[in-house]
Symmetry: C2
Subunit: 344 residues, 2 copies
């Protein structure tokens, strides 16, 4: 998936734009003011009402109320590049002066040269080398500091804003609404667990222990008499597709009742949430708003993409399974807090 | 570790003793009434006071207050066999009628024959086969039901009581006290995560998502149109020794301030809790009460054991690191709720 994104945009300027404070859901009778009235909004309201009503057949005790959210394309912008891919590229450029050998070593040379044609032919091994040097070889503490330092300097190429500003206000409202009704909200991402944990509390109000993601191996070592966890360039857990159901069971040990996704990698999470003994609500965000955000599918005849693919097969499964498809164009009154628009 | 325990006791009667309700800490000015006044009790009280006092240099905000507890030998009895080893043996005996081939197949034959000499020579591979047939090959839901069914029928050979009755009342009080002071309490066990999660809420007041343990691989499958997670006989994560620090970081992403253990496998967890920027409190339970419970070490000249070894090296590390050693004999006024005593 990094492949297509890197082809699209090779090098990014990283202007220092401070991360703005995210707007809180306003105090109003409507808990979801950024949603237009419609089937998606009503499905959420009805499901939560039934879940918390002790006289309802579908009542769920508070300790079991779990809602899971995919991140890329579900709670924040993931086009033309995943936020974490932006990080990997920026980091590679930042590290390059201390690695003069990269000028003559693939795959780094092609990246540093901005050689789109070569990048387009990168193998899995090439990509793994890029992730290895940017995400491993340091302690967990140092990695978190590197990410925290990068976030306010980050810039999405379409919006020219830091990645942490490009969260969907309707989803922030849903998180608030669910928590107000006793749900615990989790991020369940194919992205890096340790990457997302750096900003999850600030951006989503979700603490690190409620972020489940992909992870690499860490090694316990003593450094100057202090224990550290060193990040190894080996995949430990791939929290995508079936890994999302497996990860939810591994980390929580309970099934969610509500799950939000947007792409083929979220299918199993939604099946897991909606396929148990209790009723479950599965929702998929469809990026069909080319004007305010982006339009891609290829479900519903939208342009094809390899970044956050919403295939026609997933749409078919959604229809068969009674999942709710959220149209960004029709269901969302507001997309970003603060009236953020695409850069021209 | 299963080796030594199986040699000690081969087959156990499993009388139907109902699991009694655990006593709650009585409402009193003393939050730790089962503890004798002394250094260990005072260390806990002082540390918690400093942690929650906003004017203290050692103040920790509530969202960061984490306490971790090893289970076997720290919160419940682990001699002469780990609770989960009792389960594996009982389960093997229960499954045997449907596996007539086991009568002639090692390692099952030796177990079913009660052949202690042969069992004593079991290889790692033999032990793995026993775990494979008793802990894998079923769905996660079915495994939880099997464990839940077994628990009230379980019987520790020394106390002739179900394993869930043999929890240390002083530790239950500490858990209550910590939670009352804003800490989240976690079990961090070398035992099976999915095993402990079955009873953790009932026994410790700790929900499944706060149980970190060893785990096997699970596979996502569809069965009759419903998703299931099938348990595979392959180790996924070994939550012991360095794995305890790694597991804490993986599952919580925050360092504990307080960690309780009792054996060599807990060293890294205590280092992780006490080796960060903030002050940390590490505590180790020493089983030195042969009369009321059991006495083993070999630290402090107590009898050697391969089940929950507290080595002299660990004692040396504890002393160098300023960790608190809890003497069951001297520090604990009460060991079990309900006056449970050894069977004669």
């Amino acid at each position: 998936m990094l492949l297509a994104t890197l082809v699209a945009v090779a090098f990014l300027s990283a202007p220092l734009i401070p991360t703005s404070t995210l707007a809180e859901a306003p105090s109003t009778a409507d808990p979801l003011p950024s949603w237009n009235d419609g089937a998606a909004k009503q499905a959420i309201l009805d499901f939560v009402k039934a879940t918390v009503d002790q006289s309802s057949r579908d009542y769920v005790p508070p300790e079991d109320r779990i809602a899971t959210f995919d991140q890329d394309g579900t709670t924040w912008v993931s086009h033309p590049l995943y936020g974490q891919a932006l990080f990997a590229l920026d980091r590679l450029a930042e590290m390059a002066p201390k690695h003069p050998e990269w000028k003559d070593t693939e795959p780094f040379k092609s990246v540093l040269d901005g050689d789109h044609a070569a990048i387009a032919k990168f193998t899995e091994k090439d990509w793994f080398e890029i992730v290895a040097v940017t995400h491993a070889g340091m302690s967990s503490t140092d990695f978190a500091a590197i990410v925290a330092d990068w976030l306010p300097k980050s810039s999405n190429p379409v919006f020219k804003r830091p990645v942490t500003e490009l969260v969907y206000q309707p989803m922030i409202e849903v998180m608030h609404y669910l928590r107000a009704n006793g749900f615990r909200t989790y991020i369940v991402t194919g992205g890096g667990q340790d990457f997302v944990r750096v900003y999850s509390l600030q951006v989503y109000g979700i603490p690190p222990e409620q972020v489940i993601g992909s992870s690499i191996v860490t090694k316990y070592e003593m450094a100057d008499g202090k224990p550290v966890l060193m990040r190894d360039p080996k995949l430990f857990f791939n929290d995508d597709f079936d890994g999302k159901a497996i990860g939810i069971n591994l980390f929580i040990g309970k099934r969610p009742q509500i799950a939000f996704g947007n792409s083929d990698g979220d299918k199993e999470m939604l099946q897991w949430a909606t396929g148990g003994d209790r009723p479950g609500l599965g929702l998929l965000v469809l990026h069909d708003d080319a004007e305010r955000e982006l339009a891609y599918g290829p479900a519903s005849g939208l342009p094809d993409t390899s970044v956050g693919t919403f295939s026609q097969a997933l749409m078919d499964t959604a229809n068969e399974s009674g999942w709710t498809v959220i149209s960004m164009k029709n269901d969302w009154k507001t997309i970003f807090a603060g009236g953020i628009k695409k850069a021209e």
